[in-house]
């Protein structure tokens, strides 16, 4: 299985999220995460999907099936492009008076912040790409993680693209 990042701009019609998640279920596409939010254009939303696919043909199907939806304006598999991906995670970790300082040291290089403190736990907010967040969670795990809430990744193409890293073209218009 390979992870791919696919983005779609969609018309903000009622039911559009339902259409898209229904499509994923029906066609047995595995979604790791979906994010949805508004864009620079009113009435247009952007969705970012992180999906697990077996091969290129499957991601091609995902892109093409999404494109068939009337409310979907544009679909891109941006996995191989120069992109920035970000996710926000909130992690509630158990603490004792002794471990608080240690935790502070661990999260510092991740530029994470403590946003809530309780008697026996702290909640940490971290923003980054998938790997960074995974790495930080792994480091915190020994202290006892009570709860994790993650937004899923959203992505944007960098302002300048490497040559030859064009978005993968499928035969949508050939």
């Amino acid at each position: 299985m390979k992870r791919r990042i696919v983005t779609a701009t969609v018309l903000n019609q009622s039911g559009v999220l339902n259409r898209i998640t229904g499509l994923f279920t029906r066609r047995q596409f595995n979604i790791e995460s979906i994010t949805v939010g508004s864009t620079e254009t009113e009435g247009v939303s952007k969705m970012t999907f992180v999906i697990q696919v077996e091969d290129d043909r499957m991601v091609e199907q995902v892109v093409k099936q999404l494109n068939k939806q009337i409310d979907v304006l544009k679909v891109n598999d941006i996995t191989e492009q120069a992109i920035v991906t970000r996710e926000l995670a909130l992690i509630k970790v158990m603490t004792t008076p002794q471990t608080r300082a240690e935790i502070n040291v661990i999260i510092e290089p991740f530029r994470a912040t403590i946003i809530d403190v309780a008697k026996d736990s702290v909640t940490i907010q971290v923003v980054g790409n998938f790997d960074k967040i995974e790495a930080m969670i792994e480091l915190l795990r020994p202290y006892g993680i009570k709860e994790v809430a993650r937004t899923g990744q959203t992505a944007i193409k960098r302002g300048s693209q490497r040559l030859g890293a064009e978005s993968k073209q499928f035969s949508i218009l050939n």
Binding site: V10, S14, G22, Q61, K68, I70, L73, S171, I172, L173
Partner: protein, 579 residues
């Protein structure tokens, strides 16, 4: 501006004015349908659509009152398939809408253009489990090309206009519009819209020249080319271009089940239908080809058999209006996203070199001779295959033929010999029992002067036989031929072949007296038990202008052959004519 265009514009202006006058949503609904040139609709009333039916009463459009919503929508499918126009359906909320689900799915699978209207409870109570409320938008999301719920009366003209456009263009399909009762009752004024604003929907019609050049290269090199022609050829009205293309290139042609009639069955280059019950020659060609040109077929599993063995050595070119079909099931080397007719026109306009395929054609001709379709010779009833040839002869091969699903469907596909487009109506993708008879009613309404023959199994006919009432009421000269084997024949065949003759729930020992049943509706009915009788009755009744039902007692144990067993490759046919 041409005279016509001017007239059309004036008409439109008039209508725009008319529409802008205050009226209720239901009146507006009827006007929008007239605006789309709807001549007939198929439906069934109920509480949530009473305002719509009241508006219809005051401003009539021909409405066909089926006896069940499922039949209404299958009739609309039959109408659409032979007329090339969208079928229009109207049903009430809740049970009316859910009764349409099978037909909507059927139309989605077989790319039939439908615009389906359902009533809905009033917007104020949506979500409260009100009387006859069903989440029709949710239910039909995966089985429509698109669906809408009208949230404001002013949106109605735009939505209807978009729906007709979406249903009929690109790859056709069903579009559903759900109309809450209060929207139909809202008085207001709404402008008709002529422009379409669908930025997310822009089907591509013209082929990409680079891919067409690749096809030219592949053809010049091919030694074993074959064309697989699907229903896309019919939807695109491309059969003339297809004929020119293959005659110029001298390439043998295989049809899919739904593609029959897109290429003349009597043509020397025709190999027959491919797939599960296809001919040996057709399947051999698909198996051994070095160049497979798929025009408007979707490589359905009933066609390909086990994909591991399908067209293994072939360069695959695929012309399809729906990009998502290309590469979905079969890896494709030359993808051509286009309307079949546009693509063929482009190809014909270029100087294509015909492949050097004489040897291949000879081999396939030989195969056709050696492995023809065949049937058993015992005489414990009417031979279903001979019966179909007889129906072909009596109707001059010119009838519109619809079928239900099962053995009789396959025999019809194999033996009727369709030479022209739009004569053939069958449920392919969904395989919907109960489809055959009502779809014939729709076809007859579309083509009042044509002989329309509904071929149905004894079981499937009983799923929608209530429409005898509609045939009687409208005096539609539909010819109902029941292939009566006292069984769910196709199920019985599989049980005989793959389940050691354990006929679990597939035999029907008690059938209605179909003749009396016809009589109950005031229709002519006959039962025939020998081929002589069948011929006599059919010569008398298939050619006149009256409805008739003929219960044909066919050999109960006859099998549909040849066959590719499920999971097997296309080269592993069983039941090929014994040498």
């Amino acid at each position: 501006m041409s005279q016509n265009a001017k007239a059309a514009e004036m008409k439109f202006d008039d209508q725009a004015k008319k529409a802008a006058e205050p009226k209720n949503g239901a009146d507006l609904f009827i006007e929008t349908l007239k605006n789309e040139n709807v001549e007939v609709m198929f439906g069934y009333p109920g509480g949530a659509v009473l305002p719509l039916y009241d508006a219809l009463y005051k401003n009539p459009i021909r409405h066909i009152l089926a006896r069940h919503e499922q039949a209404a929508i299958h009739a609309a499918e039959g109408y659409a398939r032979v007329s090339g126009k969208p079928g229009v359906v109207l049903a009430t909320s809740g049970p009316g809408a859910t009764n349409l689900v099978t037909g909507i799915t059927d139309a989605m699978m077989d790319s039939i253009p439908l615009v389906v209207f359902t009533g809905q409870v009033a917007t104020g109570v949506i979500g409260s489990d009100a009387f006859q409320e069903a989440d029709v938008i949710g239910i039909t999301m995966p089985i429509t090309k698109h669906n809408y719920q009208v949230r404001s009366m002013e949106d109605l003209p735009r939505i209807v206009h978009e729906a007709f456009h979406i249903a009929t263009t690109g790859r056709p399909g069903p579009v559903l519009i759900d109309i809450p009762k209060d929207i139909a009752q809202t008085v207001g004024s709404a402008e008709f819209v002529d422009e379409l604003n669908l930025p997310g929907y822009q089907p591509n019609f013209k082929p990409n020249s680079l891919q067409v050049k690749k096809l030219r290269g592949a053809l010049a090199q091919a030694k074993k080319p074959v064309v697989l022609a699907g229903a896309g050829v019919l939807h695109a009205k491309a059969s003339e271009e297809l004929l020119q293309f293959v005659e110029k290139m001298q390439i043998p042609v295989v049809n899919t089940l739904l593609g029959l009639g897109g290429f003349p069955a009597s043509h020397p280059l025709f190999l027959g239908m491919g797939g599960m019950h296809g001919t040996h020659a057709a399947n051999t060609a698909l198996y051994e080809a070095d160049l497979l040109i798929n025009i408007g077929a979707r490589f359905d599993d009933r066609l390909t058999g086990n994909l591991a063995h399908f067209a293994k050595n072939a360069t695959v070119a695929h012309i399809d209006i729906d990009p998502a079909e290309i590469g979905k099931n079969v890896p494709t080397h030359i993808p051509i996203v286009a309307d079949a007719r546009e693509a063929l026109k482009k190809i014909l306009s270029l100087d294509f070199e015909a492949p050097n395929a004489g040897e291949w054609r000879d081999k396939l001709d030989q195969d056709k001779k050696e492995n023809p379709l065949w049937n058993t010779e015992n005489d414990d009833g009417i031979s279903p295959q001979s019966l179909m040839k007889l129906i072909h002869d009596i109707t001059d091969g010119d009838a519109v033929v619809t079928t239900d699903v099962g053995q009789h469907q396959m025999w019809t596909a194999q033996y009727y010999g369709f030479n022209k487009p739009d004569q053939w109506v069958t449920s392919g993708g969904l395989g919907t029992m109960g489809f055959g008879f009502p779809s014939a009613i729709g076809a007859q309404i579309a083509k009042p002067d044509k002989t329309v023959v509904a071929v149905a199994g004894d079981a499937g006919f009983q799923m929608t036989l209530q429409e005898l009432g509609l045939v009687a009421e409208l005096k539609l000269p539909v010819k109902i031929i029941i292939y009566n084997n006292m069984a769910l024949g196709m199920v019985r065949q599989w049980q005989e072949t793959f389940y050691e003759e354990r006929y679990s729930q597939s035999l029907i020992p008690v059938q209605p007296d179909f003749v009396k049943l016809a009589d109950a509706y005031g229709l002519r009915g006959y039962v025939v038990t020998t081929e002589e009788e069948a011929e006599k009755v059919m010569r008398e009744t298939l050619t006149d202008n009256e409805p008739v039902l003929i219960d044909c007692r066919i050999k109960p144990k006859e099998m549909v052959y040849p066959m590719i067993a499920p999971g097997k490759g296309i080269h592993e046919m069983i039941g090929v004519k014994p040498q």
